[in-house]
């Protein structure tokens, strides 16, 4: 488990239970993470703490040990991958004169060389072995390197496409075979005639984002700077649905300035969120208890659909997002917006899902399980017959070297996976002022910012900053004391959780708590985006685990 905490970030309803059973049957589990998480506490035999943003460096050293021991699966690499030779040259130091040894990795990652060697040997010699690489480490300033390195390690060990193995990525289950349709999006006239942005990462099919779209984590910057800042337009109006962006987008103080600068803001909401407070028009949306819906597990990580039935009529003046749009469309000159009712859409969507069965039966039972004739193993077909079933990449192979990335010509996203230095890591001069690395993992008692306001959930644990006792003592901070956490972007007051469960030099605050700025702009709600930086990694990841801060007694 690498940066993977399924007990809190639910990845398939039963994943943690399955992992517990695997452990009970003798599977050895190692957990690599700056924190001893709930998953690690219960499931792992060994915890390897490392510094945030250095995961790729640790993986490079693991690759070095495997190469040095000649434990890598050369036949697998020859058959299914492209570019391993270039990667090998980089690892052995033939490209830049620096062999990526465990001794090289130690000062970067904080992991002792003997631990790295043992990890590499355990992973290389255990067959099969699953590298469960969570998404947290990828959500950093150069997070692509971690994911690409993870895939490379699974290819080096020949663990792709085999039961009990893993491809080093946690993605969508290969069910259903066809993408499930959502409501048709229609054409966005703003994007008509937009130019492809060739400096950004293309989709698998090779298309580049058109110029009218901007990265979600650039939205406040785009509002403030407009065309002068290189963005596609000067923005005046903001229309927000299903989103609490003044909470879940980085750099909230920039966000406050951005929202104040706009002429007109419309928000669909159920609660008075930080975003809703800025609305010129606030449209009350009903809840899932007031409408019928079909729910599916996140990325089909479990195979079922749940009927979410309407329990009561919509309260007060609230309507569903769909009803609001249906009523608004003709008033804005958009006719024939929808020729179906919400119920008709649900039936149509259900019908298009292979093997869904009768809708009435589904409604009656409340759940529809998908039974497979045998377990699905990702990339099984590609491994069985690579000529007939190429991988969905430009070359049809696992691309350890990517020509598309080479074409981007950006040293922060090189064509082979590397460890790259980036802003706000421990080599940034800013460390003098802000010496602690902040990570912002998913909470266990809410889903992002949803359900933060539920009293039964709120009382379970105080929302607090995890800080190692060494760092706490150096600052005179005791358990439960109020801590002031700050950098140039913002400041918050939050209780301290003084613990041995986090690496010294690292602090951690669960993301998603509600932004509550006081009159001076100090966040009393403990929302991590008060501190995180706007922008994104070269491939488009939110850099929410790359952030330097200082902590003082509050």
């Amino acid at each position: 488990m690498w940066g993977f905490n399924p007990a809190c970030t639910i990845w398939g309803t039963n994943t943690t239970w399955y992992l517990a059973q695997a452990k009970e049957r003798g599977t050895r589990i190692v957990h690599v993470d700056p924190r001893l998480t709930e998953s690690a506490a219960t499931l792992a035999h060994q915890w390897i703490p490392l510094r945030p943003g250095t995961d790729a460096a640790l993986m490079m050293a693991v690759a070095y040990v495997m190469l040095d021991d000649n434990q890598h699966d050369q036949k697998f690499l020859d058959t299914y991958t492209v570019g391993f030779d270039k990667f090998r040259e980089y690892i052995l130091g033939k490209e830049d004169g620096i062999p990526k040894t465990p001794v090289w990795a130690e000062p970067i990652t904080g992991v002792p060389p003997s631990t790295i060697e043992a990890l590499a040997r355990l992973y290389a010699t255990t067959k099969p072995a699953a590298l469960l690489a969570g998404w947290g480490p990828g959500r950093s300033a150069a997070g692509e390197q971690y994911h690409r390195a993870a895939i490379t390690l699974t290819a080096m060990t020949g663990n792709i496409g085999v039961p009990g193995g893993g491809s080093g990525s946690l993605g969508q289950c290969p069910y259903p075979p066809e993408e499930v349709p959502l409501l048709p999006e229609g054409e966005n006239p703003v994007e008509r005639g937009g130019q492809p942005q060739r400096n950004r990462l293309p989709s698998i099919s090779g298309t580049y984002p058109v110029s009218a779209s901007i990265h979600a984590n650039d939205v406040f910057d785009a509002i403030l700077k407009g065309k002068a800042g290189g963005y596609p337009g000067d923005l005046k109006l903001l229309y927000v649905t299903n989103r609490n962006l003044l909470n879940q987008i980085s750099n909230l103080n920039q966000g406050v300035r951005a929202l104040k600068s706009l002429e007109f803001i419309v928000v669909h909401e159920q609660f008075m969120t930080a975003t809703a407070k800025f609305a010129d028009i606030l449209l009350p949306v009903n809840t899932g208890l007031e409408r019928d819906d079909i729910c599916r597990p996140w990325l089909y990580t479990s195979l079922y659909h749940i009927y979410s039935n309407k329990a009561v009529d919509s309260l007060y003046e609230s309507k569903s997002d769909f009803e609001i749009c249906c009523e608004l469309a003709p008033r804005l000159g958009v006719y024939n917006y929808s020729d179906k009712t919400e119920d008709q859409w649900l039936r149509e969507i259900a019908k298009s899902i292979e093997g869904f069965g009768e809708y009435e039966e589904f409604k009656k039972k409340g759940v529809q399980r998908i039974h497979l004739s045998r377990p699905l193993v990702a990339f099984e077909e590609q491994i069985e017959d690579p000529d007939k079933n190429p991988f969905h990449t430009p070359s049809g192979k696992i691309e350890i070297y990517s020509q598309r990335l080479a074409d981007m010509n950006n040293p922060q996203i090189p064509p082979i996976p590397k460890y790259v230095e980036h802003w706000e890591n421990l080599n940034d001069p800013l460390v003098e002022k802000y010496p602690l690395q902040l990570i912002t993992p998913h909470p266990k008692r809410r889903a992002h910012s949803s359900f933060h306001n539920i009293p039964w959930l709120k009382e379970l644990e105080p929302h607090a900053i995890w800080i190692n006792s060494v760092d706490a003592q150096a600052r005179g901070i005791g358990e439960g004391d109020k801590a002031r956490v700050f950098n140039d972007r913002g400041e918050m007051i939050i209780p301290a959780f003084v613990t041995e469960r986090i690496m010294p030099g690292i602090v951690s605050i669960d993301q998603g708590a509600w932004f509550e700025p006081d009159e001076k702009g100090v966040d009393l709600g403990g929302c991590t985006n008060t501190l995180t930086r706007e922008g994104h990694s070269p491939g488009g990841a939110f850099p929410c685990n790359t952030c330097l801060v200082e902590v003082r007694k509050g």
């Binding site: 007990a7 943690t16 517990a20 709930e38 219960t42 009293p455």
Partner: protein
């Protein structure tokens, strides 16, 4: 009746605790019939963390019942479930003896003035319906079980040791564990 708790499986997710409050309509606040305790031991990087359920273990010799001056707490003869009669209870401000007598914090009190004692009743109404307590059904790790204590001991063994748990020989709690 008693509980089985597999400490090697619990991830401290609180689902049991919230399911309990939901089923029994316990208001947000200090009263919680089933709590999770986190036990952290050691110094970085040699650290271990364990989670422990903390509830009424429906003791063989419940000290709360002996302590109650008005016989508001009693152990049911037919199934051994320890129940409380809130109509008779004198309230926390007037009495508090059961809370002081219990080694497991089982007697719980709400935020209202002079709150009456409330605690785990083993989901009696579910039991009469042939169902397990709601905490058992809610646990995503299948770390909990409940039933006649002799049956649980036959199935899981008779172990009174778990990280953070102190066995009370005078109370004889009806619980068996799988420790970490």
């Amino acid at each position: 009746m008693g509980f089985y708790f597999d400490q090697s499986r619990c991830t401290g997710c609180y689902t049991c605790s919230v399911a309990c409050k939901d089923w029994h309509d316990v208001s947000p606040g200090p009263a919680s019939w089933l709590r999770i305790i986190t036990i952290e031991k050691g110094k970085y990087p040699k650290v271990s963390v364990a989670f422990l359920i903390n509830t009424c273990y429906h003791c063989s010799q419940p000290p709360c019942a002996s302590a109650c001056p008005v016989n508001a707490i009693f152990k049911r003869e037919e199934d051994g479930i320890v129940v409380a009669d809130s109509d008779r209870c004198l309230g926390k401000e007037n009495c508090d003896l059961c809370r002081q007598a219990c080694p497991y914090d089982a007697p719980q009190f709400g935020a209202e003035s002079n709150p009456k004692m409330q605690k785990c009743d083993f989901c009696l109404e579910r039991l009469l319906d042939g169902r397990k307590p709601v905490c058992v059904e809610a646990c995503p790790m299948r770390a909990l079980d409940a039933g006649p204590i002799d049956e649980l001991q036959a199935k899981y063994g008779n172990i009174q040791e778990a990280e953070g748990f102190i066995y009370s020989p005078s109370a004889v709690p009806s619980v068996t564990f799988k420790p970490r």
